[in-house]
């Protein structure tokens, strides 16, 4: 693999991965000798959280494995925007097969490596929330249950973005999508149980489960690095705002991800063998309204007659998360 000189077009010490820090404290992104997993030239929208999350996650995985890795990708935005034939943005061995089978394909790659005695090559599977919580769910659960040596990363943008923003099993209550339009007496997605895949993954008692957002890329990298210390099935669920689907400004991607965390709507934690071992505490608690207002998918909640009841319902979900995961630091 060719070494890419680092491009310093990003600003701010966080965004560039801490290039002002000492060499040993830097993230993969600011290593001058680093190799990109995803190269420039892909077709993601400006401000795409998924492109950012995938790049940081896979660069970290490359670092953790000494570039001895293979990525398997489900159908979805990440696959489509990165491989417009005859071009490809991937500098790592990369395989796309279908929408619903990335975990099983990754299992196949891992099984092949094992049979060939190539213990050094690690496998990462990845997909959007649709490919993960809906159509690929059975394959994912099977992979967990067999404890196959795969790190599976879900980039959760809370809808089917690649097909034009339709509802997925991870779409939050009240959110407008193309199939949960902002019309009728209960506009947007209905309040349901939701599908909490990190918790479902934990119930499989696999070695490692974690959540992360693109608001804290160092944390995301650290979790990938930690995940690679384990063998067996591992699951990482990353919240990746989608400017197109969420109706947010391209420059607000990181901010929105941070508000999701600080409102309590997206708890960030780590679990090992089914037990939570670390939780990121909320530093500046914000009401869910701060998060919702930046996204037109919730605009119908803030019309001439604000739907205070719905907003209160979302706040109640955030409060429940805060209690359940002890996000405020109480013991």
């Amino acid at each position: 693999m060719a070494v890419m000189p680092i491009k310093f077009y990003q600003t701010g010490s966080f965004a560039v991965g801490g290039r002002l820090l000492g060499e040993d404290q830097r993230s993969g992104q600011s290593d001058r000798r680093r190799i990109n997993s995803i190269d420039c030239g892909h077709r993601a929208c400006q401000g795409c959280g998924e492109a950012l999350g995938a790049r940081y996650a896979l660069d970290a995985a490359m670092r953790a494995t000494g570039n001895r890795m293979v990525a398997v990708n489900a159908t979805g935005c990440l696959e489509v925007f990165s491989t417009p034939y005859p071009e490809t943005s991937w500098r790592i061995p990369w395989l796309h097969s279908l929408f619903g089978n990335a975990p099983a394909v990754a299992t196949g790659v891992a099984a092949a490596m094992k049979a060939k005695g190539r213990d050094d090559v690690r496998v990462v599977g990845q997909g959007g929330d649709g490919g993960t919580v809906d159509i690929g769910f059975a394959c994912l659960s099977g992979m967990f249950e067999r404890d196959d040596d795969v790190l599976y990363i879900c980039y959760d943008n809370e809808a089917y973005m690649n097909t034009g923003v339709q509802r997925s099993g991870a779409t939050p209550a009240a959110a407008r999508t193309a199939t949960t339009p902002a019309v009728g007496p209960e506009p947007g997605a209905v309040f349901g149980q939701g599908k909490n895949l990190p918790m479902i993954a934990m119930a499989h008692e696999i070695p490692y489960v974690a959540t992360a957002t693109v608001a804290d890329l160092r944390d995301l990298e650290a979790k990938v690095t930690r995940a690679m210390e384990f063998h067996g099935a591992r699951y990482l669920h990353v919240l990746v705002p989608c400017p197109l689907g969420w109706g947010s400004a391209s420059h607000d991607t990181i901010r929105i991800a941070r508000l999701a965390e600080e409102s309590g709507l997206f708890p960030v934690f780590e679990a090992e063998h089914g037990e939570v071992v670390a939780t990121s505490k909320i530093r500046h608690r914000v009401p869910v309204e701060d998060y919702l207002r930046l996204q037109t998918r919730y605009a119908h909640l803030f019309g001439d007659e604000p739907r205070t009841g719905v907003i209160a319902g979302i706040q109640a979900q955030a409060d429940r998360n805060i209690r359940r995961h002890k996000l405020l630091g109480e013991v």
Binding site: L95, A104, G108
Partner: protein
Amino acid sequence: MLRQIEGSRAVAGAVALCRPEVVCAYPISPQTHIVEGLAELVKSGALTPCEFVNVESEFAAMSVAIGASAAGARAYTATASQGLLYMTEAVFNAAGLGLPIVMTVANRAIGAPINIWNDQSDSMALRDAGWIQLYAETNQEAADLHVQAFRIAEELSTPVMVCMDGFVLTHAWEPVDTPAQEEVDTFLPPYEPRQVLDPDEPSSIGAMVGPEAFTEVKYLAHARLMEALDVVPDVADRLAEAFGRNSGGLTRSYRTEDAETIVLALGSVLGTLKDTVDELRADGLRVGVLGLTCFRPFPAEAVRAAIGHARRVVVLERAFEPGVGGIVTQNVVTAAPATEVHTVVAGLGGRAITKPSLSGMLRADRLPPLTFLDLDRSLIDRELGRLAAARRSGPTAENILRDLGAVASGIG
């Protein structure tokens, strides 16, 4: 070594001799004994190195095979019927990605009504998936075809389906000659992938292809599949050289040289057909049999050469295309447009195909273009009458079973 052995176990043994590195499967009758045999060989350490992956569905089974094959491992799976349909999306994908996976289809009918017995509706439904399809007549052939399948698949970078009739072959005990490991090793070189997932030489496999190149990609896949028309007989010849027996190739003729009527069929029914033909010949009827070992790609030239001189060809179909008729027939008509071709659908869902029925059919001077062998007309008429009276749809299978006096689900 000649052994009295169950067909499934013979196939499991043959597959093991091919040294697969990843085997995965999901149970479905009548395929189960094959993968059970392989599980035993892997678990006991007799087949190593090999990973046996117990998956949660057929869709996952084919997906695991795809991943394994793309990572450079020789991959194998087996299924039937609903299982094959359940993995359909991945079956097409394996061919599109050019992955030389070998899969056994233990042919079984497709529901509803659910039926576990043999016909060939399953593999026929996937005839356009881009896989090479080989059909075994006997268990010896089933075992040998698997050894050939890996070689053909890897030479062409195209997956191969070996179809064997469920129960009739899979569960039948008969003598099968198995080659020694060294013999197979000489016949089948290690798998060298055309493109592989390797950190030392990274490549992207499975890119998004737009309208500007998609047709060309598909054309090339077709062209590669057509190459199999040379490779399949060539590999059969090599097998004959190495193992001293002829099992494989594109087609097989039996007493066709001077035949006025030729029956064309696939799979285990060929044995019964040959016996029937022998009896009819003794009575002075000029009949012959053409067996199709390779159905995809369709060996049009070989078929034309074998049947061109006959007055009529009867295609014995073990599946059919509702709303049209015979599936194989259409291929035969395209290959030999000047020949009179009839379709006889027989043996659906395990219905026995008997010599008396076959010889009755072949003795008939005139055959309608589409015949369902041994169809019970009275049952059909009664059910049609009932439907006309009720003017709504109903559980046809249950009605017919009640008329037959059989106890069906939901009927006391």
